[in-house]
């Protein structure tokens, strides 16, 4: 029993890989004609995306009345989906920025993929509040501090405006971070390209990258700085989203633990989604030796950790609701647990806290097949968490005469399913046009890639 095998972190790849092999394998999906399975997949997802367009058409033509939102529940599916998608995005930044700062080399295998997910998830998320404004073509005047006819400014004291700044900053920074990471890989693809149009397209994207060390020096510094800024940014974004709820005086919304609790939940759901998709991706493109079972295990460890954090927040909320002695607080939580939406609450609780406990078993953590049902449930559970927060807190407000039950309409469902369509279509396109694993990083971290005697700083 040697120390090396037990206490050392697992190697990043299951076998030794040459640089040439990395180039070939990571670029294979880009350079070959899509498989039949890919065409089937993208037809399904773009069909789903069409539902979104139908939903938007109805919404814009007939108004928000086509949604299930009613009088106490003014924030229905739109905000549930918005928070859900923003949360999905968080794993991307966590993996690309926080794990980078923590020098977790294993992030290389999943970072690019997760970052792409972030950007696509933010795109999906933005649709909902935009159309929830009712007249999205005027939204710029309501959302941004632009001079206008009435000489009045946007309300800087509103958390909804904080959201505008937070989410747009987040989207832009994630994109710049992602693009910066892609530049050297674009150069690699450019120099491998056989077809002149292909060469030109990737050549333009590569911004003329030459792999010069004088450039790498600044590039690395910039990448580190991006990571340094993205880390507090990602915490702030979901905190700001949580402020939308927590600054109010609505029982179940106004609770101070919301910011860190939302961040933990976002990372939890994001990792769930990364795992859901990357398991399919590595199978499809035969990259199991780069995205190994060790990677899955590490991801599962993050998932169980964040699951415990979310569970901690649930329990704290329940306890403090009782402890506060405030009748409204107590009622809001009782109503969640045994009221008309108890089914949603217990779905959330079991999917987010109870089932993930199975990940304590090493065997389940390391098996793509065994963990798959659990992570699917996590995706479901985290959607329900937002549903519980938005709907169950609103549907019985201070005025019992206005209590109502929220039921989503078919348009709500179209938009919800459609947003998955947009997201998955973009992911499928991403897998075909961009390298799903950072080639330069995969090379830099492979054994023997660094000059002997030099160290990562």
């Amino acid at each position: 029993m040697s120390v090396d095998t037990i206490l050392r972190p697992a190697p990043l790849t299951t076998r030794e890989v040459s640089f040439q092999e990395l180039d070939n394998d990571i670029n294979r999906p880009l350079e070959s004609f899509p498989t039949f399975r890919w065409w089937i997949a993208i037809s399904i997802t773009s069909g789903m995306a069409t539902l979104f367009l139908v939903g938007i058409y109805y919404t814009v033509f007939y108004g928000i009345g086509t949604w299930g939102n009613n009088n106490p529940v003014g924030w229905g599916f739109a905000i549930v989906n918005f928070v859900f998608w923003i949360g999905i995005g968080h794993a991307g930044t966590l993996i690309s920025a926080i794990l980078f700062l923590l020098r977790q080399a294993w992030r290389t295998a999943i970072a690019r993929f997760a970052e792409a997910m972030t950007i696509f998830a933010v795109i999906c998320a933005l649709q909902f509040p935009l159309f929830h404004t009712g007249r999205p073509w005027l939204a710029a005047f309501w959302l941004l501090p632009l001079p206008n006819h009435n000489d009045i400014w946007v309300n800087f004291r509103s958390p909804l405006l904080w959201d505008v700044f937070a989410v747009s900053t987040y989207g832009l920074v994630s994109f710049m971070f992602w693009y910066t990471g892609l530049v050297p890989d674009f150069a690699t693809i450019r120099d491998r390209a056989k077809h002149p149009i292909r060469k030109m397209a990737y050549g333009i994207l590569s911004l003329g990258w030459t792999g010069s060390h004088r450039a790498w020096q600044h590039y690395e510094k910039a990448y580190l700085l991006f990571a340094g800024f993205a880390t507090p940014l990602v915490l702030s974004v979901h905190s700001v989203v949580s402020f939308d709820f927590a600054v109010s005086v609505i029982p179940g919304w106004h609770t101070t633990i919301f910011p860190p609790y939302f961040v933990a939940g976002a990372i939890f759901s994001g990792f769930g989604m990364v795992a859901t998709l990357i398991i399919i991706m590595r199978k499809m493109f035969k990259l199991e030796y780069l995205v190994t079972d060790d990677h899955l295990e590490l991801m599962n460890k993050v998932i169980i950790t964040t699951s415990m954090m979310v569970g901690f927040a649930y329990i704290t909320e329940l306890f403090i609701a009782w402890y506060s002695g405030v009748a409204y607080e107590r009622y809001a939580f009782m109503n969640r647990a045994v009221g008309p939406y108890a089914w949603a609450y217990w779905t959330m609780f079991s999917c987010n806290v109870i089932f993930p406990q199975l990940l304590w078993f090493k065997k389940i953590r390391r098996s793509a097949l065994l963990m798959y049902p659990i992570i699917i449930l996590i995706n479901v559970g985290m959607w329900f968490e937002r549903f519980v927060i938005v709907v169950s807190s609103l549907h019985r407000d201070y005025l019992p005469s206005s209590w109502d039950y929220f039921t989503p309409t078919i348009i709500d469902w179209f938009l919800f399913i459609g947003s998955f369509g947009i997201f998955l279509t973009l992911m499928l396109l991403f897998c075909r046009f961009l390298p799903t694993i950072s080639i330069a990083e995969a090379k830099a971290f492979s054994p023997g890639a660094q000059p002997s005697g030099a160290h990562h700083e």
Binding site: F156, L161, T169, S212, F226, S239
Partner: protein, 188 residues
């Protein structure tokens, strides 16, 4: 064909990072100024081997961040308390806790846009055309191999001296780098 080839540099190609790192030290010590290493991924320790100065990006970024903070506070304070004061939620006009989130976001936004600008500027991106791109050297250095490029504009540069220096570093694959000059139409 009225094309003419002009020698703009000398390239040495290496197979391992160790060879390159060793070569970089030798070229640095030969007092070359205009030269560069080209690698498929960042090599650690090459900054010292090449004798590069630390990157100024952190300082530029931080300054931009503070500009962002000031801009955010001025923007919010002026719009909500001076230009069109509106009392909301019984809060004071200068309700600073409510301004913190946007201030923070703009701090990050200004910093990150600056970082991106610095990447383009300092990494000299956006120059799609260079003799390297016309040669087949790029194919090697964005994939598996490592190169030292000695620029002909360096005062130490002559074809023979460069060749000799690269040979001294143990390079087995030395290639001249040409720029194709169209005599009638200038550079392509």
């Amino acid at each position: 064909m009225s094309n003419e080839k002009k020698l703009v540099g000398m390239v040495g190609l290496y197979d391992t990072p160790d060879e390159l790192a060793g070569a970089a030290v030798k070229v640095r010590d030969a007092k070359y100024q205009k030269w560069d290493c080209h690698t498929p991924y960042p090599l650690h320790g090459l900054d010292d081997a090449m004798g590069l100065k630390p990157s100024p990006i952190p300082y530029i970024t931080l300054s931009a961040g503070f500009v962002g903070i000031s801009a955010a506070l001025l923007l919010q304070g002026w719009m909500s308390a001076v230009d069109y004061p509106v009392r909301i939620g019984g809060k004071p006009m200068w309700s600073w806790p409510a301004f913190v989130p946007i201030t923070f976001e703009l701090f990050v936004l200004f910093s990150c846009v600056t970082i991106m600008g610095c990447v383009v500027l300092f990494c000299k991106l956006g120059k799609w055309h260079s003799p390297l791109h016309d040669s087949d050297i790029m194919k090697e250095v964005t994939s598996t191999r490592f190169a030292v490029v000695l620029d002909s504009e360096d005062s130490n540069f002559t074809e023979e001296k460069a060749q000799k220096l690269l040979e001294e570093t143990g390079c087995k694959d030395i290639r001249p780098l040409h720029q194709i000059v169209d005599v009638e139409g200038g550079l392509i």
